[in-house]
Every structure is written in C-alpha cells, then in structure tokens.
C-alpha cells in the first residue's frame, strides 16, 4: 500500500516535474479528443437527419383502372407482407376522388358520369438503424404483383442520400481512427522524451534494486493523468460549444444540436486506453 501511494504521488509529482512535456501531451490529447468529439456529435446529428428523411420515404402504388376496391385490398395486403415494408395505406377510388376534388375543385363524375381514378396505396418503408436502406428489391416485388399499374418512388434520391450517408460514416470512422493513431504516437513519443530526460532516475532506480514495474508505474500513471486532464478539457470545450451553438441556433432556426452526453465518458475511456497503450509502448522500448 505504501509502495502504491508512493508511486501514485510520484505520478502526480511528475506532472509538475515534466511541465513542458506534460503540456505538449495534454494539448495533443485535448486536440485529438475534441476533434473525435466533434466528429461524434456530427455523426449523431447526421444520423438524426437521415432518420427523419427515412421516415419521409414513401412509395405510391397505382392499381389498374379495372381493379376494384376489394381486389385492391387484397393486393395491398400482399404488399404489406413484403420484407422491408413498414405500413400500407389503401386509397380507394372514392377517396381518390375526394382528394382530387379537394385539390382541383372539380367533381369528375359530374361530366364523365363515372369515377376514372384507380385505387392506389401508399407504402411506408421500415427504418433501419444502420447500413444503407435498399429500396429497389421492394419496388421490384411490388411491380410483380398483379393489378399494379404504376409505382412512383424517390428511388434515385434515396439512393443518393443513403450513399452519401454511408460514405460519410466511413470517412468519419477513418478520420477518427487516424486521429487515435496519431495521438498514440504523440503520447508515446512525449513519454519517450520524458523517459529519455529521466535516464538518470531510471539508472538510479535500477541501481538500488527497483523492479521494472516500479520504474514503469509513475510514467504510466503520469500518462493516465495527462489523458484525464486532456479529456476533461476536451469535454468542457465540447459541452460549452454545443450549449453556445444551441443558444445561437435557437434564435435563428428550430434545429438544435442533440448530444447524448454519455459519450463524454467514452472520450475519457478512449483517452485512458490511448495513454496506457502509448506510455507502455514507450517504456517497454526503454526498459528492454
């Protein structure tokens, strides 16, 4: 216990002893985590936007003019069973006429003496939490159904939005991975510099019979403290920036940035893992 307390206090004291290198490492962690945080917030909000757009995706199916309302009901039931279809709404011939009249002010039956409008159906697609939404197989299945005359959909637009989203996600993941890698290198090199400047200490510790763990521990703890400070600063910045941006946005638009603040604990975890990996890597090269 005494040994652990000593090592812990040494780790803390090292922060003061190695001020300049500590500042560099904390600043790198702070910058990296702030960028990762911004990427995460951007991803979360883009996802919400995509979800909203997906909820608006719909397919309009027009049946043949000879199809009766009863037949249409059967076809709609078939459509509802297609995988990926969330809901279906049948618009009967009479309902279609009402919609037409309300939109154009004319009653078609007055001069045609019959209702020429076919029954139709609005199909809503199931929302997917991840991955690209594939609409084409659903369209294909609908077209195969007997009695279906025309299928209207926003397939190309949906495809474009989904592709953009998928590429964006991939890009964001790549950037985050690169940032993590660079941070590991920076922390590792910073600690390597610290260790190099502490050659005398390591030599003295080896001389008096310190184990490798004993020599290593203050440097590892120092790395963890640096990571925690960097993560705390990044969290404060992200929180302040989101609150400030929402304040501004609320005056201009109805859109606000939504953040699940639990992700900040992930930032701390990432920082600690990065620092542990970085410092262990640096020290093990020195204590061979």
């Amino acid at each position: 216990m005494d040994k652990f307390l000593f090592l812990f206090s040494e780790g803390l004291k090292n922060l003061w002893r190695h001020k300049l290198t500590v500042f560099t490492a904390v600043f790198s962690v702070f910058l990296s985590l702030s960028t990762i945080g911004v990427l995460f917030i951007a991803e979360q909000n883009t996802h919400k936007l995509i979800e909203y757009m997906r909820s608006k995706y719909k397919i309009e199916v027009f049946f043949d003019g000879t199809v009766s309302n009863e037949q249409a009901e059967k076809y709609v039931e078939e459509i509802r069973k297609i995988p990926g279809v969330y809901s279906t709404t049948l618009i009967t011939k009479d309902e279609a006429l009402k919609v037409y009249s309300s939109q154009f002010g004319d009653d078609l039956t007055e001069f045609l003496e019959y209702n020429p409008l076919p029954p139709s159906c609005v199909v809503n697609i199931k929302r997917q939490n991840d991955g690209k939404l594939k609409i084409n197989p659903i369209i294909k299945r609908i077209k195969e159904i007997e009695g279906v005359d025309t299928v209207n959909h926003q397939g190309r637009l949906i495809h474009r939005i989904e592709s953009f989203y998928e590429q964006g996600l991939l890009g964001l993941s790549g950037i985050a991975f690169a940032i993590i890698l660079v941070t590991v290198m920076i922390i590792s090199n910073t600690i390597k510099l610290t260790i190099y400047s502490k050659k005398d200490l390591i030599k003295a510790l080896k001389m008096i019979g310190a184990t490798h763990t004993f020599i290593r521990m203050p440097f590892i703890l120092e790395g963890v403290f640096q990571a925690v400070i960097g993560a705390a600063l990044a969290s404060a910045l992200l929180y302040g920036a989101v609150v400030g941006a929402n304040e501004l946005l609320s005056q201009l638009t109805v859109f606000t940035i939504n953040v699940e603040w639990m992700f900040l604990s992930w930032l701390f975890l990432i920082a600690i893992v990065i620092s542990l990996f970085g410092s262990s890597r640096a020290i093990s090269r020195f204590l061979k």
Binding site: R17, A204, L205, I208, T211
Partner: protein, 217 residues
C-alpha cells in the same frame, strides 16, 4: 561472499576482462587498484549483474550469474550498495527524497523511512541538510549522500567505483575512513580506485587489475 571464477567479458570494441579469479569473504575490505580503462568498472558491473560474463561465473551470496532469473536481479541489487564517481543523485529531489528512494522501492512506510533517512544522514555526517538539493551540496557531500543512499537499505556488500575520483585528498581520505567504519560493522566493501597513495597506507587487501587481468598487489 563474492566469487568470480575464470570470468571473461569482452566489449564490442574489443577490450574487457580475461580469466578473472577473485574471492572476497563476508566482512572483508578489498581495494581494487588499476589505471583508467583497466577494467575496474567492468568488474564491478559484473558483480552488480549489470552485465553478464561470456565465460566463467560470478557468485554473489546465493545468486550466481549462470542461473539468476531476470526478475531476481532487483532482489540481488537490494543487498548491494553501489556508489560511483558520478553520484547518480536526482537533481529534482532533495537530499531526504534521494536517500529515501531505496526504501520506497522496498515498500517501507513513511515513519520507518523518516527514521532511517535521519539515521543514515547522521551516519555520513549530513544531518540537518535534508531539504538541500544535490546542486546545493559540495562534491564530498554529494558522495556522502550517495553513500547514505547505499547504506539506508542495510546492504551486505558495498561496491564503490572510484568514489573519490572527484574529491580532494582530504575529503577522499574522510570517505575511505567512513567506509572502514561501515566495514567494521560487518559490511563487505569492495572499492575500486586508481589512487594508490590513498589506499596504500590502509591495512586492507589490494588486488590490481591491468589490461583486464588481475595481478596480486
């Protein structure tokens, strides 16, 4: 007991030690004399198991160079007090913290450490200088601090590598007398020096090393 049996060691550049046989009994005080570059430090590094012989065997108490496991080396080093010409004191720690370091390594509590540091500093004549930093001490005081750090863990052996190398003759003489006092309490002392005039009048065994080979002195 320290025993070197037919020990050889060669550095990459070619020089080193050849066929060294040496035996030092518990409680003995032995001087190692030889010119600069003759192999004194190499011999001490072998005894400290900082390097290992190419052939032959070094035995320090229960540990020997053939069979010692890497993780056991710190245990061996805790039974040896090493002092050298370059003091290896840590500039960012005061005298108290420097001397206390070996006890932190072993895991003593703060009260035991405070008591032992005061005792060790008193023994080497540095009482009252606890809060001084190495750069505020003279060469002689720094070497005494180094000795206090070696003594605090109550070592069975003291290996001294040219401890008087940077000291004036009077301070050097005082340091040798201090090592003799420690030796009288039962600690084995093996001191390397190139200053024959300093050690010739002391009544201890002297071994001479020259070009990596031992000679009787």
């Amino acid at each position: 007991m320290i025993r070197l049996k037919n020990v050889s060691y060669t550095y990459r550049k070619g020089f080193g030690l050849a066929n060294i046989d040496l035996s030092i009994e518990d409680g003995e005080f032995v001087f190692l004399i030889g010119p600069t570059g003759s192999g004194k430090t190499t011999l001490l590094r072998l005894m400290h198991m900082d390097i290992f012989p190419e052939s032959g065997k070094v035995t320090i108490g229960e540990f020997d160079s053939d069979t010692i496991k890497k993780r056991k080396i710190p245990t061996l080093r805790r039974s040896i007090g090493l002092i050298s010409q370059s003091y290896h004191l840590l500039d960012d720690r005061n005298l108290f913290e420097n001397v206390a370091l070996p006890l932190h390594v072993i895991g003593h509590n703060q009260n035991e450490i405070s008591e032992a540091v005061e005792e060790a500093l008193d023994e080497v004549g540095l009482a009252g200088l606890d809060d001084h930093f190495p750069q505020e001490l003279s060469g002689g005081e720094q070497q005494r601090a180094c000795l206090a750090r070696a003594l605090i863990k109550d070592p069975e052996i003291i290996l001294a590598d040219e401890p008087t190398g940077n000291l004036d003759p009077v301070t050097s003489f005082d340091l040798v007398k201090l090592l003799e006092e420690i030796n009288r309490e039962g600690t084995t002392v093996f001191m390397a020096s190139h200053n024959y005039s300093l050690i010739k009048s002391r009544n201890h065994r002297i071994v001479e090393i020259h070009d990596g080979k031992l000679r009787s002195a």
